[in-house]
């Protein structure tokens, strides 16, 4: 056993590390990969390749975007990430040029793992790091003559004159790592190249110096990402100077690295990732998954609340269960437009299912245009293809479908849709697109965020099958605590469709109680009337602070009088 460990111990540790990374992404954060994937549109296309190659770091970016598209399969994506992290660790070890202190070689990879908790860190950074470590490893071998001595300074300098610009163009400013490790003086040359290139590139100097594609937001780079190459350099330079140490030191290093590994979780903002998960569930239309998640932990952020309300509406439960969850006013139903990808895309999903196809299209477009690194989005392009198919704008739809045809994962869907282009009957009979076509409004007006209830009313009047419009229409005045408006809407709705869920009955009972009247026979369930009386008694005994008031937490009355 001891022999085995002596021989394969390092690989065992690396594999254990890889497994930890794999399970981390596969089990804990699969939706984070979907998030990354939707913020790019990798095309198998020479133009796409050339566009990427036209900027420093473009090759690393191309490679990273190629890999990121495989996040569509979360198991494969997690395996890919595990492999990349193992590569970072093993290459660090290679560059350490020592036979001891193996645990220290995990430090850069662990810091990277922590840093990737920031969802804006791009895989291009990881690829650029790996490529440079490979360059250092290979070139340093070439720099050694057969007798193990360094080749002459002139020869190495000449080699670096060629290597630095090539590596810079392929990987971006991470070339500084290669330059520093191979021939420290060449870092000046690398810096000069970077500064010079900034004059000819359509980017601010700061962005060129920090890496055009390392981080989603231009002109910033988190400190953790700056630290990683410094760590690799320091380990490569100084680890051989450390004392060899014995088992005790080895154990200490292992413990330190494990502790560091445990701290990785600190880099992952749970609230942020909760929203990312909600968005993912909406994207894949896992309505029951959303409700189950909300039942476990009540959503309280606008995006998660609106996702939960959407899921309830899609399963026709909104009127019965809306107040089982925390509500944030009408913004929790239809959030206002914000200039960012995540919330805009989710809001667009709600409008899409409501039948406001033009508004969904607009928000999809806005979401894509909001991506800070100017990428396009496969998810959005698919949605744009859908909205144009529904609107019968087939030439535009074709443009988007042809783009998706050049991807790995969206190609089959695109090809299925391409054959339906121009085929009105096929679109009309499509379960989703045909339905949304029926829901679309035909009379023109300008969309207004201030009149969403009226828009929902028009959607319902236009097509009485649009249950989601009915659910949203009646919930809006309730969330605004506007009972008179609710009463006028509910009459309008109930004259046309049979819809009288729990929230409506509670609100009707409340309205009649305010008027000191009994609701008409059969309009409100007897049990609800009884509960209403109970609530009135409890509320009357102590108002908001009445000890038993919590019993009514899931009712309209509680929301209207106590608020939550």
């Amino acid at each position: 056993m001891q022999k085995f460990f002596q021989r394969y111990g390092k690989w065992v540790l690396t594999c254990l590390f890889g497994l930890a990374v794999f399970f981390f992404w596969r089990i804990l954060y699969p939706f984070a990969m979907a998030y990354q994937e939707q913020l790019q549109l990798f095309l198998f296309d020479d133009d796409y390749f050339l566009e990427r190659m036209s900027e420093p770091g473009g090759f690393a970016r191309y490679l990273a975007e190629f890999l990121t598209q495989f996040y569509n399969n979360v198991t494969f994506g997690a395996a890919l990430l595990a492999l990349l992290f193992m590569l970072v660790q093993r290459l660090t070890w290679r560059l350490m040029h020592t036979s001891s202190h193996y645990p220290l070689s995990f430090i850069p990879a662990i810091v990277l793992w922590y840093a990737m908790g920031d969802e804006s860190v791009l895989l291009s950074y990881v690829v650029a790091l790996i490529l440079n470590m490979v360059v250092v490893w290979l070139v340093s071998k070439l720099f050694l003559s057969a007798d193990g001595h360094q080749r002459s300074l002139i020869l190495r300098s000449l080699a670096m004159l060629v290597i630095v610009p090539i590596v810079y163009w392929l990987t971006g400013p991470m070339v500084l790592l290669s330059a520093l490790m191979l021939l420290p003086l060449s870092a000046v040359y690398a810096l000069a190249l970077m500064l010079l290139s900034a004059h000819f590139l359509p980017f601010p100097m700061q962005r060129v110096m920090l890496g055009i594609s390392y981080y989603r937001f231009p002109v910033v780079l988190p400190y953790a990402l700056m630290l990683i190459p410094v760590l690799v350099f320091a380990l490569g330079r100084f680890s051989r100077l450390l004392h060899k140490g014995g088992t005790w030191l080895m154990a200490t290093e292992v413990v330190a690295v494990v502790v560091l590994g445990v701290l990785v979780q600190l880099g992952y903002d749970s609230k942020k990732y909760e929203l990312i998960e909600y968005d993912y569930l909406v994207r894949v239309k896992n309505w029951n998954g959303i409700i189950a998640k909300a039942e476990k932990q009540t959503p309280d952020l606008p995006m998660s609340v609106s996702a939960t309300n959407l899921a309830l509406a899609m399963t026709n439960q909104l009127g019965d269960r809306a107040f089982d969850f925390y509500q944030r006013g009408t913004e929790g139903l239809l959030p206002p437009f914000e200039r960012n990808f995540a919330t805009t895309q989710l809001t667009g999903e709600i409008f899409f299912h409501l039948g406001l196809v033009n508004t969904a299209q607009r928000l999809a477009f806005e979401a894509m245009e909001s991506i800070p690194n100017y990428n396009k989005s496969a998810r959005v392009i698919k949605r744009l293809a859908e909205t144009n198919l529904i609107n019968g704008q087939y030439k535009v739809a074709e443009k988007y479908l042809r783009m998706l045809e050049k991807t790995v994962f969206y190609r089959p869907w695109a090809q299925r849709m391409i054959v339906r282009l121009g085929d009105e009957a096929a679109i009309n009979s499509h379960p989703l697109y045909g339905k949304l076509r029926q829901y679309r409004l035909l009379e023109d007006f300008l969309f207004s965020e201030q009149e969403l209830d009226k828009i929902c009313g028009q959607l319902l009047m236009h097509n009485l099958q649009n249950q989601m419009a009915a659910q949203y229409l009646l919930l809006m005045p309730l969330l605004d605590r506007d009972i008179p408006r609710f009463m006028s809407y509910v009459q309008l709705v109930q004259q046309r469709v049979q819809y009288n869920p729990r929230a409506c009955q509670e609100a009707i009972a409340f309205a009649f109680m305010q008027r000191q009247q009994q609701p008409p026979q059969g309009l409100v369930n007897q049990l609800i009337l009884q509960q209403m009386n109970d609530f009135a008694r409890v509320y009357g005994s102590g108002g908001k602070d009445a000890p038993e008031i919590g019993r009514f937490r899931n009712t309209v009355w509680y929301y209207l009088t106590v608020g939550k």
């Binding site: 359509p202 601010p204 002109v219 607009r362 477009f365 396009k376 030439k395 443009k399 023109d444 007006f445």
Partner: protein, 488 residues
């Protein structure tokens, strides 16, 4: 770098995919070939880049022979008709004022089909401009990703960025203008956190404060005085709204707008009560070619967004004295579009003073988003005005501008796919009739236009290549050092 890579990959592709074999025993088809873009029967300037085209349907190979009525012949064969630039120009120059006849054969499953020949006229009128400038932008709504101002050499396929918004994060550039196609006097706007109005006069850049207190807004829709001493603007409090029905998208209306003239030498804003009335919106001013008249649009102010369909503009004019910078005391209505139930926008007088191009739509002035937008022409001598049926399409046609010699126009149209606006060029003859417009040639037209996710807008001709230092301009934009304007 990108061009080099592109050339290498093209060469590689040509080597591996070019179709081989001669056109043998073709089946004659009595129909015009279905090609993209549609260049059948168009009129081109001799200086234009080759009219490369694709078969509109999928073919194994296409073979094209072009013969000039005054001599010369050109042959292209491959996946698409790709003509050599210098050979093309040799042919067009040789046939200036003549006709090019295109013989097209297409290969389907080893069978060649020869279609009826079609012709392209080579205009006797020169282009006289180096190329075009335009904004290229995704046809979005409020948020914009990568976009910029670009220039295109019309004799080749080369496009160059003037400035892209990647230069300063969060920046958007729009509404550029050169002085009668002379880019030595150039202006454009920057929007965003570092907003400004940029003036570049004879290589000297100046950044004006985006929002002027005197104006109560920013400087929008510029147009140079022919002397280059003044630049007319409107200042608009613009709002956007979005339609809910399938065929309409964006509506733009102004809560208020006024017209004024800027004098770069003194940084003065020349304003007049007739051009900034309370109940009317004055908009999009342009100078007459003699510089003595200012044309602009006016609309009675409405309650927006409620009455957005009542936003209808007429064309008015007021005299202008370039020596003093004073306006006249009378406003004339030149075109009463409101009486026609229409709204007029984008007036553009030809530089020879003969015509005025404008767009009519049902309402509003942002014609690019109005499917019903049509281009019209007014004869400034006779006052006659007519719809340009020979130019218009069922989709939005707008944003026209004249070439320096007033023989060519460029305009945008969504006729290609209904959504993405493309650039079209057309020639006007002595009688004021336009030739069939042709889409701006591209090296790989089908690939370029079907894959491009950008729209072209506000195109203009440019006499020479715009010399603009985008790197230093980026630094200047970020610095926020701005020149303050003053009211005269």
């Amino acid at each position: 770098m990108r061009k080099l890579l592109s050339a290498i990959s093209c060469l590689f592709l040509i080597l591996i995919v070019s179709c081989t074999g001669q056109v043998e025993n073709p089946t004659v088809v009595d129909a015009l070939p279905d090609i993209y873009p549609d260049y059948v029967g168009v009129t081109i300037p001799a200086e234009i880049a080759p009219l490369n085209f694709n078969s509109a349907d999928t073919v194994d190979c296409i073979d094209v022979v072009v013969r000039g009525s005054k001599g010369g012949e050109l042959h292209a064969r491959g996946d698409y008709a790709d003509f050599d630039i210098s050979e093309w120009h040799q042919l067009t120059q040789q046939n200036k004022g003549g006709i090019l006849t295109f013989t097209v054969c297409k290969k389907y499953n080893d069978e060649w089909r020869q279609y009826r020949d079609f012709t392209v006229s080579v205009s006797p009128y020169a282009l006289d401009d180096w190329g075009l400038t335009y904004r290229r932008i995704a046809p979005g709504y409020e948020v914009f990703s990568k976009m910029g101002l670009y220039q295109r050499d019309l004799s080749t396929f080369d496009e160059y960025a003037i400035i892209e918004n990647t230069q300063v994060p969060g920046m958007c550039v729009n509404c550029h203008s050169a002085c009668q196609t002379d880019p030595s006097k150039f202006v454009f706007h920057v929007r965003g956190d570092h907003g400004a109005t940029m003036f570049q006069i004879d290589g000297q850049r100046e950044w004006l404060k985006a929002n002027s207190d005197q104006l109560g807004g920013s400087m929008v829709y510029p147009y140079w005085h022919p002397t280059g001493d003044y630049c007319a603007f409107s200042t608009n409090k613009t709002r956007q709204a979005f339609h809910v029905v399938p065929n309409e998208r964006i509506e733009v209306f102004d809560l208020s707008s006024d017209v004024f003239v800027y004098h770069p030498a003194t940084h003065e804003l020349l304003m007049d009560s007739l051009l900034s009335t309370k109940d009317w919106s004055e908009n999009s001013p342009v100078f007459s070619p003699d510089g003595r008249t200012l044309y602009y649009m006016t609309c009675r102010q409405q309650d927006y967004p409620m009455h957005y369909k009542d936003e209808k503009y007429n064309l008015c004019s007021i005299s202008f004295d370039p020596a003093t910078g004073r306006f006249g005391e009378r406003v004339d209505t030149l075109i009463n579009a409101v009486a026609m139930g229409k709204s007029l926008t984008w007036p553009r007088p030809s530089y020879d003073g003969k015509y005025l191009l404008y767009t009519l739509s049902d309402y509003g002035y942002f014609s690019i988003w109005h499917e019903e937008s049509q281009q019209w022409l007014m004869d400034l001598k006779t006052g006659e005005t007519r719809e340009l049926a020979e130019l218009n399409s069922p989709k939005a046609d707008s944003y026209h501008n004249w070439s320096l010699n007033s023989r060519w126009i460029v305009f945008t149209s969504r006729r290609d796919d209904g959504y993405y606006s493309r650039l079209y060029l057309a020639c006007i003859d002595e009688k004021g009739h336009f030739s069939k417009p042709f889409m701006l040639p591209q090296r790989h037209p089908l690939e370029y236009y079907t894959e491009s996710i950008y729209s072209f807008n506000t195109p203009d001709f440019t006499k020479a290549k715009v010399d603009f230092d985008a790197y230093n301009a980026g630094l200047e934009i970020s610095s926020d050092q701005r020149t303050v304007t003053k009211k005269r």
